[in-house]
């Protein structure tokens, strides 16, 4: 295999030869940030608009009302949560079996398939694209838990919402090794006559709780 | 201004009414037109077909013929074709450089910097949109691909047409879609070319226009051939042929064949 490596690298060097394309500096005239501050009313309005467009359900609540909202969204059934979730969020749940999943004590895929819903926090959200990013920290959990259950309730603090993609990438760049999931609405396909069908393999229902 | 005309080989041989109209129009606007008789072709056909070596003598002839514009003998070169202008601007230098003709490549660049497609010359260089034309007919405009995308003439032709007295400009559905000509594409991929032509013809007919205009006789020959085959009665006319029409010397689409020749 080292043969292939050596040969490929030398092929590349030969191909570039003397006519190496100039290693130019990259022009970055594009917007590094939006005109509105993170968490501002303008930014939130755009995020909500985009999420609704993707057919996600958006709930704007004060922190104190979050447990009530979760209780309402998670009717009778089962829910999986990451280990670092704020226990107060779940205080209002009744008739809900709560399972905790962690890297140390993971549930199997089959077990997750038997659970109705998942509640996670988020790392950052991008208003212009209607995107929520999870980075696998303890309040968000392993990637599998936000994937297999059919309902995902994602709790986003309003101050986590930035306007543009570059703002989010700058934030994530601090810990580039973390496994990321960028979520923009529930899963969807347009593979049949480009007719959009929401909800294929990922959660078919996405609730976003925007907490101020 | 002294303006040199590059008639283009196809119009010279097949559609002389277009360069004639350019001459009349520019003279009417008070300019002097010269026609360097040594000209033949810009080389586009050879380049686009991949015959770069055969393109070299053709391109050299063009550059040599129009070199005086680089020395200020003429103020500009006008070309009644978007794709030939595009070839002069984007291909001639490359052809000459690859042939190792560095000095001529530099001349080619200098010539191309003073070479304009007709609507560019009128609007950008001469600063006119109302050329005093009169043409009381229903017209639709096809923006040819090279005018639109290689040159970026934008809405200049439409601005010129809107200023023509009596002219009713009707929008063309899917105007920006290619007509399927593509030079030798129309022969090498004749079936695909014909399928694209069918759609363009249907859209032109859908406008109810009496005249189809464009800035390129090559595409007009293709679409016009389809319009004629379909018995549609829509006449293809170059932009210059409309702009040259006045109350005193009107151009009548129906006798276009006769008037032109």
């Amino acid at each position: 295999m080292s043969d292939a490596r050596t040969e490929m690298l030398s092929r590349i060097r030969t191909a570039l030869g003397t006519s190496t394309p100039e290693a130019t500096s990259v022009p970055r005239e594009y917007r590094a940030a939006g005109e509105h501050a993170a968490g501002s009313a303008e930014v939130l309005e755009v995020l909500v608009d985009r999420l609704v467009d993707y057919k996600a359900h958006v709930h704007q609540v004060a922190a104190a009302d979050l447990p009530g909202l979760l209780a309402e969204l998670l009717g009778p059934g089962s829910v999986v949560v990451p280990p670092g979730i704020d226990a107060a969020w779940l205080a209002g749940l009744a008739e809900v079996e709560v399972r905790t999943d962690s890297r140390e004590a993971p549930l199997s895929a089959v077990e997750l398939d038997g659970i109705d819903a998942v509640v996670t926090a988020a790392r950052v959200a991008v208003a212009e694209t209607g995107t929520i990013v999870l980075d696998g920290e303890p309040d968000q959990g392993r990637r599998a838990i936000s994937l297999v259950p059919d309902v995902h309730v994602c709790v986003v603090r309003t101050d986590q919402v930035v306007q543009t993609v570059p703002e989010a990438v700058r934030l994530l760049d601090a810990d580039p090794g973390r496994p990321l999931t960028w979520i923009s609405g529930p899963s969807a396909t347009s593979d049949i006559e480009l007719d959009r069908v929401e909800g294929v393999h990922g959660p078919r229902t996405l609730h976003v709780a925007l907490v101020s | 201004m002294r303006i040199a005309l590059a008639a283009t080989c196809i119009a010279d041989a097949m559609f002389p009414q277009a360069p004639k109209a350019v001459v009349t129009l520019l003279e009417r606007l008070g300019h002097e037109v010269v026609f360097p008789a040594a000209q033949a072709c810009c080389g586009q056909m050879h380049v686009n077909t991949g015959y770069l070596a055969d393109a070299v003598p053709v391109v050299r002839n063009h550059v040599r013929t129009f070199a005086p514009v680089a020395d200020g003998e003429w103020d500009a070169v006008v070309v009644p074709s978007g794709s030939c202008t595009g070839s002069i601007r984007h291909q001639q230098k490359m052809v000459l450089e690859r042939a190792g003709l560095g000095a001529e490549a530099r001349t080619a660049t200098a010539v191309s910097e003073r070479t304009y497609e007709l609507s560019e010359l009128l609007v950008d260089v001469l600063g006119v949109t109302d050329v005093g034309a009169w043409f009381p007919h229903r017209v639709t405009y096809h923006p040819t691909c090279h005018s639109l995308r290689m040159l970026g003439v934008g809405d200049k032709p439409e601005r010129l047409l809107r200023a023509v007295e009596g002219l009713e400009l009707v929008p063309l559905e899917q105007a920006e879609g290619c007509c399927g000509f593509g030079g030798t594409f129309s022969l090498k991929n004749a079936d695909t070319s014909a399928a694209m032509l069918d759609d363009k013809v249907a859209n032109v007919v859908g406008t109810g226009a009496e005249v189809l205009t464009a800035g390129d006789w090559s595409c007009l020959m293709h679409i016009g051939g389809g319009l004629s085959r379909g018995g549609t009665g829509v006449r293809p006319m170059h932009l210059a042929e409309i702009l040259v029409s006045t109350r005193e010397a009107p151009v009548v689409p129906a006798d276009r064949q006769e008037v032109a020749r």
Partner: protein, 505 residues
């Protein structure tokens, strides 16, 4: 030959077959060489043009994506600046490719991944097959990937007794129908809902017998079918949209969640990636994650993007292999004029705006890479003589939309020049005719006086014109007059008119 139900896939490629035997699903079969199969482009295009259903499907689909793309690109104020950055980043990647690949390898390895190098398709397939066999499984799940289509990985695995299950809906449709993809992004764009239902009923063992052709129902049938596979798969195979050299991070951009399933649930993940998929820094993702979704699906952002760096203990696959693939890419790189084809991020925008693709579809190109990008990339990857560089009117619509500003029309012209050189080495009859015609035209058009005489020649055709038009010409003029009239040539050329005018003065 067509492929009959229940029989193994044919390994001799065929173009779109309008005369498929009854009882088949119209798939074109899996070709021996995914980069070169089927009839010549003009012939395959002709067959496709005769298929009205196909033309309608394609026309509707491309028109829909085109307008979606235009809308979401239009709302980005700095779109051109993003394109400039995207193009420059990719140029920089090519210029520093050896260093960046080594940097990527170091970072992936440091995070617990294993990097493999594959010079060609056979080597890549061998590496993957050995890795899968070591896991003692005979079934793997796959995320849609152009690189693995290009190397025919599924067929190679099948020969080793390993079933590779495509999990992207469109890829699944193509796989079940024993077909080839006809679009980079929507591989089954040539199929309508009824055909898809029939394919599912005939080939997807567990499809509900009362399945209708409603897209939602079809998608749910695929969900149910694949869920069992996801939950039990031990090994997944993916491609990659981007690999970040300075962190070792890989990214996969998708919509359905099948990607997340494959990238997250199995114990082992094998990613096959072309060497040009690199970006130098993590920050560069901010450019491409804006350019790609809007250009490809016409969405502000695709539903899911996954990023991972080597192995994350306790989260996702605990074994990760990255296969770096050459398979002709270094040949493309060696060509100064054509190397920017390696900037491509496979968004498919150029296909959707291409007036030729829109009418003939992807199979006519006889390559897993169809459309404008396929017309430049395929001949460069194979280095063979090809008619694809001529499969374009040079209308420029592709260049206008390409998010990384690949000047496809100029590269097509360069490749035509190469075809002329290749044609000169071993000319066929057509090459000889063209060559003679171009020589003669070159002579006539290189001198004003000679041109003036030549320009009078068409006048002879006035003898056969009626009412100002010519309806029929002998070959090769018949190629023109078959579909269009030729106007009667003028009595006097412009050259002659001008000379007369000068004389009169």
């Amino acid at each position: 030959m067509s492929t009959f139900l229940g029989m193994p896939a044919t390994r001799t490629g065929r173009g779109p077959s309008p005369d498929a035997a009854p009882g088949t699903l119209g798939g074109v079969g899996r070709p021996e060489d995914p980069l070169h199969w089927g009839a010549s482009f003009p012939d395959a295009a002709k067959a496709a043009l005769e298929n009205d259903q196909l033309r309608r499907n394609l026309g509707n689909a491309t028109a829909t994506i085109r307008s979606k793309r235009a809308r979401v690109v239009g709302e980005v104020p700095d779109w051109e600046a993003l394109r400039d950055a995207g193009s420059a980043i990719k140029g920089d990647v090519l210029a520093r490719l050896p260093e960046l690949l080594e940097e990527l390898e170091r970072n992936v390895t440091a995070r617990g991944g294993v990097v493999h190098w594959a010079r060609d398709a056979a080597e890549a397939n061998r590496i993957v097959a050995d890795l899968v066999r070591a896991k003692e499984t005979d079934e793997v799940v796959k995320v849609k990937s152009m690189a693995t289509q290009e190397i025919g990985l599924n067929e190679a695995l099948a020969e080793e007794g390993i079933a590779a299950v495509e999990t992207d809906l469109a890829e699944l449709i193509v796989q079940l129908a024993d077909d080839m993809p006809s679009h980079i992004l929507v591989p089954a764009i040539h199929r309508n809902r009824t055909e898809i239902r029939d394919i599912f009923l005939e080939r997807m063992g567990d499809a509900p017998p009362d399945l209708t052709d409603v897209p939602r129902e079809l998608a749910m049938a695929a969900r149910a079918h694949l869920r069992r596979k996801f939950l039990s798969a031990k090994v997944a195979i993916s491609g990659a949209n981007f690999a970040v050299a300075d962190t070792g991070t890989l990214a996969v951009v998708e919509s359905e969640g099948n990607g997340r399933m494959c990238l997250t649930l199995p114990e082992t993940l094998i990613t096959v990636m072309g060497i040009e998929k690199l970006v130098p820094t993590y920050r560069d993702l901010e450019v491409f994650l804006q350019l790609l979704p809007r250009s490809s699906t016409g969405e502000r952002m695709n539903p899911y993007t996954s990023m991972w760096t080597g192995v994350t203990p306790g989260d996702g696959p605990q074994e990760f292999h990255l296969v770096l693939l050459d398979n002709g890419r270094t040949k493309v790189l060696a060509d100064e004029a054509g190397r920017s084809a390696l900037h491509c991020i496979r968004c498919s925008a150029c296909l959707n705006v291409c007036p030729v693709y829109e009418r003939v579809g992807g199979h006519a190109y006889g390559s897993v890479y169809p459309g404008p990008i396929g017309a430049i990339l395929t001949p460069q990857l194979t280095g063979e003589k090809s008619d694809l560089p001529y499969a374009s009117t040079l209308c420029g619509a592709c260049y206008e939309v390409c998010p990384v500003k690949i000047d496809i029309p100029s590269i097509l012209v360069e490749l035509r020049a190469r075809e002329v050189e290749l044609g000169g080495a071993s000319p066929d009859a057509a090459d000889r005719v063209w060559k003679a015609a171009m020589k003669a035209a070159s002579f006539a058009m290189a001198d004003g006086a000679r041109f003036r005489r030549a320009a009078r020649v068409p006048r002879a055709l006035r003898a056969i014109s009626r009412h100002g038009v010519i309806k029929r010409l002998p070959f090769p003029g018949s190629l023109w007059t078959r579909s269009r009239d030729l106007p009667e040539p003028p009595k006097q050329t412009f050259h002659d008119w001008w000379a007369e005018r000068e004389d009169e003065r």
